[in-house]
């Protein structure tokens, strides 16, 4: 699918005009000689304490960590070099950055639903334009978009932008720098890929509710960095927890390294092809 959607799009200026490589050509050529990194910053989540505002660190559940170490061992055996302790110190800003930037963009994107041309327009009689806007948007939007709009408007307002939106942009640049350092072919680490857990926990149980735990609120902490930094990433299945819930591992690479990420991912898939967990079906399909 990537092969089909990749490349220039004359209706989308953010799409690259770089030539699209043949992603399948070398996909089964293994990982011998590649440098794959592990970062301690992906084995914990860091978040501000709601009471004190201090940063708190919490280690990921052991079985999440084990899945990654196991994969690293598989790669080592296939001839890759595993580089430990790669610093990615700005990973902890992922969620806060996301909360700010995405809200600002969402608020702006939703401006067009103003009752003039798009979306719902209030049925009530209004005396002026402002009231029409207020009622249409007030009645038309649900709770989630309203929260996003309010937060987006707040953090981009002239008097707060410096504190929030501008800072989020700066933090995003720092995050990008973490990746540049890790993948720099002339740098200290020279990584082909960074190997991390996809999420801080296993997939949630069917009955779990959003906000149940800190781990759940920070579920995206390990995946948003790639989006902020603009680097490619791939998530692949890597087994199950003792409760039978799936665990994913993630590979992150330098700009336009999709082909080698696919190759590294495929290597893991090939090597673990015959393992018992691969035969397992999702619990819902097994009627549990």
């Amino acid at each position: 699918m990537l092969q089909v959607i990749a490349g220039a799009d004359k209706a989308d200026s953010t799409a690259t005009i770089k030539a699209v490589p043949d992603y399948l050509k070398d996909i089964e050529k293994g990982v011998a000689g590649m440098r794959i990194g592990l970062s301690p910053d992906y084995f914990r989540i860091t978040f501000p304490d709601p009471e004190s505002g201090e940063y708190i660190e919490q280690a990921l559940p052991q079985e999440m960590q084990d899945a990654v170490y196991k994969a690293a061992q598989v790669y080592r055996e296939m001839g890759a070099e595993i580089i430990e302790d790669v610093p990615m110190p700005n990973t902890r800003f992922g969620i806060p950055i996301y909360f700010v930037i995405s809200r600002v963009e969402a608020a702006s994107n939703l401006h067009r639903f103003d009752g003039v041309k798009y979306g719902y327009r209030t049925k009530q009689a209004v005396t002026d334009l402002k009231e029409m806007y207020r009622r249409s948007r007030g009645e038309g939007f649900g709770l989630q978009p309203k929260l996003r709009i309010l937060m987006g408007m707040y953090v981009s307002a002239a008097q707060y932008s410096e504190q929030y939106y501008q800072r989020a942009l700066k933090a995003r640049t720092l995050m990008r720098r973490d990746f540049e350092n890790a993948f720099d072919p002339n740098g200290k680490y020279k990584l082909n890929a960074l190997l991390t857990p996809t999420t801080p926990t296993t997939a949630f149980g069917m009955a779990d509710v959003y906000g149940d735990s800190v781990m759940m609120q920070y579920a995206d902490q390990l995946t948003v960095p790639a989006n902020h930094a603009g680097v490619p990433g791939i998530s692949i299945p890597a087994g199950f927890s003792k409760d039978g819930l799936p665990i994913g591992i993630q590979l992150l690479g330098a700009d336009f390294s999709e082909a080698s990420l696919l190759r590294i991912a495929r290597s893991y898939e090939m090597t673990t092809e015959n393992e018992e967990w691969r035969k397992k079906k999702p619990a819902v399909l097994e009627g549990k």
Binding site: T14, V104, L110, H111, K117, A158
Partner: protein, 481 residues
């Protein structure tokens, strides 16, 4: 006490690209096209659409930036300016904020006080909004939205507050318009809204003090309205300051019908546009080589023409100004001069500024439409210079050339307008006139010299204007003495 005035301008210039700023819609004449016929999902702001930058608009912006002696940013950023208004379908306008495409330039102007430079702070690209039409039918009021204009590329050119008189404001605006028209980046047609103005006006006791509190006058649709609005505003501010009052920082509108400014928004009510970088567009990167190519395509500009016409042709300043106000006129003039041989540039200029302009005014033709080519104009001027026809006949011939497009030679032949310069023939006519008006001749001899011109007129009439006036004068004088 006369306060010192500081005025800065923001000029919105509609770029004359074929298509809109971020989509492929054709740019149409807003006064002609049916409403909402030049629109597409992108400029209608439909959810899910993405903007794509119009390269021609960027090229025009760079061209204008270079001609305004600006630095061109090799990397500039599009930003969203967020606000609600029915003429803005997306609820935000894509503009440039922190990093504009051109910055720190200047333009020279000339006023009765001499020459001076106005600094350009920045010039940035943005998209135009749609247009509202407010209706009132049988007591019911409503507004209609036309989005044909939405998305047309605009270049906003912002000056430093370097203007201190209305004369300078006028000179700047006219010079800017002239320059941009020379570059062919805009029609400059103010009646169609191709140039719109905003003025920042403030006053201070003298130019050693810090700048005074400024007001912003928005939505000025012509240089003339702007002059009136600023004049009104200066008088208002002067009065407040003289009475010991303070100027409020606010945004003003200008009412053409009431000829006064009115408050639109105070400082507290000022919009917070929540500018942020447009996530759907990457930074605008322009390569040095492209800038160089554009620079090499810039034609000779008005100021360069002024200098050259003066140096090479010694034309008086006023005539130069008339000739360069329209690039097509100046090219016509230059083409004519190129072919004019012995005829001086000044003579050519006289014919163009006098008779040709007269005809253009009278007929509503532009220089491109007139039926007389530079070569034909030269041949007409030659007929006159070589005394084949006199001035009046020449004017008559030119008029006919302009109407019919016939060559000068043919008209002269057809009308038998060839000037009579044979002495014998003229002597005969003059003798007849002198015999016809003995009384007048006597009073001339008695010292009433003004009668000479009257007699001269009689002779010219008798030749039906074909007599060579120089020769007629000489013979008449000789025969009278």
């Amino acid at each position: 006490m006369q306060y010192f005035t500081d005025i800065g301008l923001e000029v919105h210039v509609e770029l004359s690209t074929r298509t809109k700023m971020f989509c492929g819609c054709l740019v149409v004449d807003p006064t002609v096209a049916q409403p909402n016929t030049a629109v597409c999902p992108v400029c209608l702001g439909m959810p899910g659409t993405l903007p794509v930058v119009n390269k021609q608009a960027v090229a025009f912006a760079i061209k204008a930036g270079l001609a305004l002696h600006c630095q061109i940013a090799e990397r500039s950023i599009f930003a969203r300016k967020n606000y609600f208004y029915p003429d803005l379908p997306k609820g935000f306008q894509i503009s440039q904020y922190e990093l504009p495409v051109a910055f720190e330039g200047s333009i020279g102007i000339t006023t009765s006080q001499g020459k001076k430079n106005i600094r350009i702070r920045r010039a940035h690209l943005e998209e135009d909004t749609g247009k509202l039409e407010h209706c009132n039918q049988q007591g019911e009021t409503y507004s209609l939205v036309d989005l044909n204009r939405a998305g047309i590329p605009l270049l906003e050119i912002v000056t430093e507050p370097d203007m201190h008189t209305i004369e300078e404001v006028r000179a700047y605006s006219q010079e800017l318009r002239l320059l941009l028209r020379y570059l062919e980046v805009t029609s400059g047609d103010m009646e169609k809204g191709a140039m719109r103005f905003e003025a920042n006006v403030s006053m201070r006791p003298n130019d050693n003090e810090a700048l005074g509190t400024r007001v912003e006058i928005k939505n000025l649709n012509s240089i003339h309205s702007m002059e009136k609005a600023i004049a009104y505003e200066l008088e208002r501010q002067q009065k407040i300051l003289e009475e010991g009052g303070a100027i409020l920082q606010e945004t003003l509108g200008w009412s053409e019908t009431r000829s006064e400014t009115f408050s639109q928004r105070s400082k507290e009510e000022a919009h917070d546009y929540r500018y942020f970088p447009e996530p759907d567009l990457p930074p605008l990167i322009v390569e040095k080589t492209w800038i160089e190519t554009i620079a090499s395509e810039i034609p000779e500009l008005p100021e360069q023409k002024r200098v050259r016409y003066k140096a090479e042709m010694s034309l008086p300043a006023e005539k130069i100004e008339s000739l360069i106000q329209d690039k097509s006129v100046s090219s016509y003039f230059e083409e004519t001069v190129k072919r004019s041989g012995e005829i001086t540039a000044n003579t050519v200029a006289n014919w163009i500024v006098g008779d040709l302009f007269g005809w253009m005014n009278e007929s509503g033709c532009s220089i491109q439409d007139i039926k007389v080519s530079p070569a034909e104009l030269v041949s007409l001027i030659q007929f006159h210079e070589q005394r084949v026809i006199n001035k009046n006949s020449a004017k008559e011939v030119l008029h006919e050339m302009l109407q019919t497009g016939k060559p000068a030679r043919q008209i002269i032949q057809d009308k038998g307008l060839k000037q009579v310069s044979s002495t014998d023939e003229l002597e005969k006519t003059i003798t007849q006139i002198l015999q016809k008006f003995p009384e007048e001749v006597s009073s001339y001899h008695a010292g009433k010299e003004t009668i000479f011109n009257w007699l001269f007129g009689q002779v010219m009439q008798a030749t039906r204007g074909k007599g060579d006036p120089q020769i007629v004068k000489v013979i008449l004088k000789k025969m009278l003495s």
